[in-house]
Symmetry: C2
Subunit: 667 residues, 2 copies
Amino acid sequence: MIKKHLTKILVTVIAVAAIFFFKACGGGGEEKVSLNVGGEDINAVIEDRDLTPEDVLAAVKTFLPTGKYDEYLLFASGGHSGQVLVIGVPSMRLLKVIGVFTPEPWQGWGFSKETKEILHAADYDGQELTWGDTHHPALSETDGDYDGQFLFINDKANARVAVIDLRDFETKQIIKNPLSLSDHGGTMVTPNTEWIIEGGQYGMPWSGEYASLDDYNEKYKGMVTFWKFDREKGRINTEESFAMELPPYWQDITDAGKLVSEGWVFQNSFNTELATGGIEEGNPPFEAGASQRDMDYLHVIHLKKAAELFKAGKTVKINGFNVLTLETSIKEGILYFIPEPKSPHGVDVSPDGNYIVVSGKLDPHATVYSFKKIKDAIDNGKIKEKDPYGVPILDYDAVLEAQVELGLGPLHTQFDPDGYAYTSLFLESAVARWALGGEWTKKNGKEPWKLVDKISIHYNVGHLVTAEGDNIHPDGKYLVSLNKWAIDRFTNVGPLLPQNFQLIDIGNTDGQMQRLYDMPIGIGEPHYAQMIKADKIKAWDVYPEIGWDPGTQSKSPYGVLAGEERVKRTGNTVEVWMSAVRSHYTPERVEVRKGDKVIWHITNVERAKDATHGFTVPGYNFNLSLEPGETQTVEFVADKQGVFPFYCTEFCSALHLEMAGYFLVKP
Amino acid sequence: MIKKHLTKILVTVIAVAAIFFFKACGGGGEEKVSLNVGGEDINAVIEDRDLTPEDVLAAVKTFLPTGKYDEYLLFASGGHSGQVLVIGVPSMRLLKVIGVFTPEPWQGWGFSKETKEILHAADYDGQELTWGDTHHPALSETDGDYDGQFLFINDKANARVAVIDLRDFETKQIIKNPLSLSDHGGTMVTPNTEWIIEGGQYGMPWSGEYASLDDYNEKYKGMVTFWKFDREKGRINTEESFAMELPPYWQDITDAGKLVSEGWVFQNSFNTELATGGIEEGNPPFEAGASQRDMDYLHVIHLKKAAELFKAGKTVKINGFNVLTLETSIKEGILYFIPEPKSPHGVDVSPDGNYIVVSGKLDPHATVYSFKKIKDAIDNGKIKEKDPYGVPILDYDAVLEAQVELGLGPLHTQFDPDGYAYTSLFLESAVARWALGGEWTKKNGKEPWKLVDKISIHYNVGHLVTAEGDNIHPDGKYLVSLNKWAIDRFTNVGPLLPQNFQLIDIGNTDGQMQRLYDMPIGIGEPHYAQMIKADKIKAWDVYPEIGWDPGTQSKSPYGVLAGEERVKRTGNTVEVWMSAVRSHYTPERVEVRKGDKVIWHITNVERAKDATHGFTVPGYNFNLSLEPGETQTVEFVADKQGVFPFYCTEFCSALHLEMAGYFLVKP
């Protein structure tokens, strides 16, 4: 078959082959290399599929043979799918979609009594919430490095935070922020996961309060919440958590300090113009109104001291929650502002904790602040002025370390171990690699604070992530560009396009970055992701004991062993204790009267890996997923009469279709 | 770095290289080929990553460079996720998860008024259904080949059928079966998509009726439903649809006849033992009780004649639906049984329509029936006996064409253009290639009805699919093995494991099949899939006009152009007509009183591809996805007071975070 690029590729392949040819034979020669495997010529396949040598290199760098494991796991927010995506790197294969804010029947998530309780513990004002807009996942850390134990993620749409246990990759807790309905700046963790940070976004009066937009400046609030994480229990302790009131700027992303800057938190903001929109009334729309000033405010928060103030009883109760008022924070000297270029998005602390990198998306630079200089400015009162709310503003020039010109629309930055930073350029559709200065110059040997390489991506990257790239020990190697638009990258699957995760090899810091792989994301729009060394995660194969409740990570009082199954009627309540094993349920027949309340416990009594069973009763709208050892419960009123053949929804054996039974509801 | 298999691979690579080396230099020599790309040696990567030459071949056969498109699209059921998965072949990348039976917020599916109406049109007896168990997708066909226009899929858990339009990859219609709550044997289509077949599974009295299991033989029913598809409207016409009552065996998969057998439908069954379970009462469990007999019954249905009988008024109304009673079907000669080996799963008609292949999962053979012989047996009354319900049973020996010994646990069969069939072997974890006989022998040149090749897979394959493999013109080339268990294939992501789709190259029919790629499926458990040539699908880039309602695929009465936005109060109802464009909404402020009913229409007035906007009001539990041109509506009661900052949930520009506004609910 003649392909349009055949000539070019043939020449390239021949040229490539010639390197060896010359070496071996010491002379000219233009014959192709023939790489024969089982009667097939690899080069013929390469030609037929129009692959360039760069493509072949990318293919062998990403292909994972059957049964071999990925080196890294990427935990990506699932955006407005409400879920978390788990992706192997470098193969870029989607290993699991974890149900978080949206009910997910494959996992039985949000259908059993146990998981409903977790999901709906964070409903809002009587409103059942069945979706979320996940933004920023945060892996738990020990001493500033990922420890592979927990994952946290926020729901921007309703201001919630979820806790996922990485022993079974299931959601264990969802918390509703009591103050706000908007939380873009979460989640991030402190270096030992003492605190999970949830920063707000759009200014609003405290939840449930009405205030006219005319009173925006006085009655609308900003906030950042610090959730105390109890690692032993694997849960957030809301009683020991607190928030800080902030001016009603629109706070954006946060990052926790590390090493020298540990105990401090940095948070961007925009709309320091205090615009309130109203295009329909002739006002400038938010996109213009919130972009007037050249500078917004980086919030510098002394979290360690804030926590001490909270312990010392300096908080007040708002909506039943502990809040440090703005007045207290100013008075106690735990909140400072620094001017930062217009409409910033990312704030990222360097691995050594020395530098805070901010990218103003309407400014072509990465702006780098020195923590030492910030500390010095605070300690020595280098305050130029105060904002209208009385927050001291540090002298920009006094705390600035460098400005690095990168390109159009810089957003987010991550790091490698060799003294390089990587910044996404949204408008330019590129990723920039640039050299850190200071002590890092010894490592990278480059001119400090300078762009060294840039690579085009497809298209319009928001966040990017490098391997362990926001840890104190980043790995480098791989970068994933979380591209927002795919446009022409994939086969057309209708007007709603997948996003595009592009895997980039950043291992060769003396040479250029190399695009390796395009991964379409056809479920939700991921925002941020974190990439952890896969062997740090010690997930369970099966649950520790038969009768396990994953919701509490302990034995369920409702579990049964084989032989203990039973049905018990008490008045109008019928309680069932059922077992599931390949390939039958016990009991197989359950009969009730219409109107009875049914409480149905099911235990998978298997101990073999992958021996999962499902359970559904048609017409009653639930599906359970019972992993080996797991016990789950469904409760419902038998309000529909008739015969309902229940069955195992997970193909569990050759006789899986026979794993069924009858639920009969007598009129 | 020293890898454990380094020596073996080096030797292999050297041996491969040597082919060229000998050719070029005419002598010995053991130097490695150096394939240098941009300063990097491809072979060094291959060695470092432990890739065998077979792996490299698989890598270059599956890798797709950025911007190149997959040759095929695989439409896979998402199993108990309730959705449909769209996957590119050969890259095995998940391009989209289509929301079908489960609400999916990224797509706004099940959150807007328009999509809620579609989703909940098929609720059951007042019960809202928010999940499904999708089993068998069926692409629409013209003259027996996929035409790329529509996709149908069933929900086994509640007996529903969905219609997806492949212009925008969205669900347009969901139908509840009025007779049953169990439908494993759907969906399949007739060669011109006149009928969508929905076969039942577990016997039950007609929906809503109670009958004791003691009365199983008399009062429980089987069924197959034929939904009339109106291609012009892109919808099922329920009035022109009908069902056939069947004995209460557990009907399984169906397939429609094609070419010579067009107008006929074939359907497996099991549990012809009429077992009713009851292990808890000392009865044999279903897995044993339903596996006693050596033979079950292949149902042979004369659909063409059944449709004529329906038109002639021979149906009765049951639950308001048109049903041909078993008595009528027997009397009119449109239903016959053929003995088929024990507990069959798949029934598949060969591309020429001549052969019906059945696999009894507890029998090591593929059993092949000749349509010609079946027709002859019917026409000439070769009836050996009748079943207890009076259905005539054709003489097994008279209609049998061949039995092909394949291996353990054969389930499903697909075809290629060269006269080969491919059958999944569940218990053996393998795929068998075998030669068809009859006229096909001229094509394949092999001994008829014989196994020719077998390949191991990982692990336990249910369905398999070949490219256009159940069409009258199969393409061959690729086969995907839909493996049910992954066990050790992927990095451990907790006790609930992904499934494993394995891509297999079946292009070389003179040689062996070759495993190319393992794709983890981390969302739901797919059952069946169909693989269509990608260029057959003509999906839209954007909606045809501004103000488009995808639910009706026509202009919405609620769309607006820029400048037509407005808010109107009528009593306690506030109606909003809003527009969305990069990067603002108009209006940006909407204020109502607590208790008001809010009807909110939003139109994306963009015309550029990929310029999608989202819309959510925090705390009110919805997200909309508005593709270019789309209009959607949400309706709710403003029962929560306060201030709700609404925003665009799709990253639409550098000023996307500024695409926001305020919804105020005054006490």
